[in-house]
């Protein structure tokens, strides 16, 4: 029997000013999934998350968490969700330990259980030494980790993270990725929104892209990346080049004295490109993607209609 961690049906939100943020979206996230919800600013991601977490009132539609309707089974559904919001939303004058333990109390955990879980998650997120420090004395990365510890203290089965790594350095970001992957392997379903598409591509198995209040893509990461018909690579050469090689079947462009761009269509092999460069007497030092593959797709999917030239659908 399959279980949906999250089921959204016909979700619509019209704000007081008349702006329609969501136009009746349907979405399903399977239990155990690591799911990316992406979209440009103002697309409706935060409104969707806000409705799931009861911070935004929906206009129409239903939201179910592990089969429990958030309206009808209010308390039970909420106990299954942990949320890490985009902006810091704790009192900076409170102690780190108090912030997490208080959240445990909000979810009805006993004092003992709350204290145990607070210790467990502050330790796992490397904040146990800071438990008696006021939150205002934490660095940006520590504040992000504090929000994750707080969201986990009642041990939710569905964790929703709204841009959890915004503004943190790469080292902390990677340690947070490792932590989230570990949580997911242990059975926690994770929904992630992020502007770092590399993050979504490396962590998430399934993805939905929302734009102008509608889901414009909802598929597996593998299937989505498979839609790319062309990838652009940057080829670094050993020697400067004067003339761009003309090789049948390949398009090269000179971008710097030592670098070429290469458009590789689906079905073409890099081996053939290397052979062509070799025959032109050019030695390749390194090769990299010009941009993140998901980024290419994201831009295409959320651009105005008719510009999605790099995609094939169906």
């Amino acid at each position: 029997m399959s279980t949906a961690a999250l089921s959204i049906a016909g979700l619509k939100k019209v704000y007081a000013g008349g702006f329609t943020a969501l136009k009746g979206i349907d979405l399903e996230v399977k239990e155990g999934d690591f799911f990316a919800l992406l979209g440009p600013n103002g697309a409706g991601k935060s409104t969707t998350i806000g409705i799931i977490c009861s911070l935004v009132r929906k206009t129409e539609g239903t939201v179910k968490i592990f089969g429990l309707d958030v309206d009808k089974d209010f308390a039970a559904a909420k106990r299954l969700i942990g949320v890490v919001p985009q902006e810091f939303n704790f009192s900076i004058f409170e102690k780190v330990g108090d912030i997490v333990e208080t959240q445990a109390g909000f979810y009805g955990l006993s004092l003992r259980q709350g204290a145990e879980n607070t210790e467990k998650y502050l330790k796992r997120l490397g904040l146990w030494d800071k438990r008696n420090a006021q939150a205002r004395h934490l660095s940006g990365g520590m504040k992000r980790r504090l929000m994750i510890a707080r969201a986990l203290v009642h041990e939710p089965r569905l964790l929703i993270l709204d841009e959890p790594t915004a503004g943190v350095d790469i080292e902390i970001r990677r340690s947070m990725w490792a932590f989230l992957e570990e949580m997911n392997k242990a059975g926690t379903t994770i929904i992630l929104t992020t502007h770092y598409l590399e993050e979504a591509e490396s962590l998430c198995r399934n993805i939905a892209i929302i734009d102008h209040g509608e889901i414009v893509e909802n598929t597996s990461m593998r299937a989505l990346l498979g839609q790319l018909t062309t990838e652009t690579f940057v080829v670094e050469l050993a020697e400067p080049i004067e003339v761009v090689p003309q090789v049948p079947g390949f398009t090269f462009r000179k971008v710097e004295s030592h670098a070429l761009e290469l458009d590789l269509s689906r079905g073409q092999h890099l081996n053939a490109a290397f052979a062509a460069l070799d025959s032109a007497g050019l030695k390749v030092m390194s090769l990299r993607n010009k941009s993140n593959r998901l980024e290419q797709l994201f831009v295409s999917l959320t651009a105005s209609e008719g510009s999605a030239e790099t995609l094939t659908h169906g």
Partner: protein, 272 residues
């Protein structure tokens, strides 16, 4: 569409009463921690200003006033000053705490949790009552240095102070719900609460007023609270009947509770 998991069903079967109680206790403890953390702002100023009232109005001026409402003037002003501290502190605790919670968006941590709105409201109100009673106790101890008194009716005295603290905590909550900036939570205390308190029979008996102003004063709810509280402490008949005061405050508490809960359920000022 996927089906409900058995695990989800077991969660719904859990009783929520125990969890609600824990959530209530957590909010109250959080509120108490907040006003104790900033004790130089919350507990010390009322103690100092009340000592000044006792000294200036009670000792220096009061000695020349003589009797008021059947009591020495110093004794006469004690219940009103205690009540005044409870009113202002209960009100401002909830107003500033709930507004800060909105402003810092930490209210979201309660809204995402499975806490019924009534429990959230009760938690904030209990926090306001706790600060009101705490400051009231400090002022009562201070008063003990200036005048000897025993409590005539413990039930009435405690009942009045509790109901008053609850009422003004609810008032502070409603103020904070509508407040868009910090100034908005000081307007009502400055322009409504302070005048009503000073004109609420704290420093004088309504018998001293001309008929017109005495009639006007009967529309001031604080007159009823102060008068009945004074009766509870000294057993001296006040400006208004006690039963009327208790009934009126109870009605206002019910009304303010209902308004506050409706505002929370609608998400006024806190939910988009």
């Amino acid at each position: 569409m996927a089906e409900t998991s058995p695990a989800a069903v077991s969660v719904t079967a859990q009783s929520t009463y125990a969890a609600d109680w824990v959530a209530f206790r957590t909010i109250v403890m959080k509120e108490i921690r907040r006003f104790l953390r900033i004790w130089p702002q919350t507990l010390v100023p009322p103690a100092i200003s009340m000592v000044l009232y006792f000294l200036i109005f009670g000792t220096f001026i009061g000695s020349r006033v003589g009797q008021m409402g059947g009591l020495d003037y110093m004794a006469f002003i004690v219940p009103g000053l205690i009540m005044m501290s409870v009113i202002t502190n209960a009100y401002s605790n909830v107003a500033s705490s709930f507004y800060s919670t909105k402003f810092q968006r930490s209210i979201e941590t309660m809204l995402v949790a499975p806490i019924p709105n009534g429990v959230i409201l009760a938690g904030f109100v209990a926090g306001g009552v706790a600060r009101g009673l705490c400051v009231g106790a400090i002022v009562t101890i201070m008063a003990g240095f200036f005048v000897d008194f025993t409590i005539h009716s413990f039930t009435l005295t405690v009942g009045m102070i509790l109901m008053t603290a609850i009422l003004f905590s609810l008032g502070g909550f409603i103020n904070a719900v509508f407040a868009d900036k910090f100034d908005d939570i000081s307007i009502i205390p400055a322009f409504v609460l302070t005048p009503l308190t000073y004109l609420g029979g704290v420093f004088y008996s309504l018998d001293l007023l001309p008929d017109f102003w005495r009639t006007i004063s009967y529309f001031n709810p604080i007159v009823y609270m102060v008068s009945s509280f004074r009766y509870g402490i000294f057993g001296v008949s006040g400006d208004v009947p006690v039963y009327l005061s208790v009934a009126a405050i109870a009605v206002f508490v019910a009304l303010f509770w209902t308004i506050s809960l409706v505002l929370l359920n609608r998400g006024t000022g806190i939910r988009a």
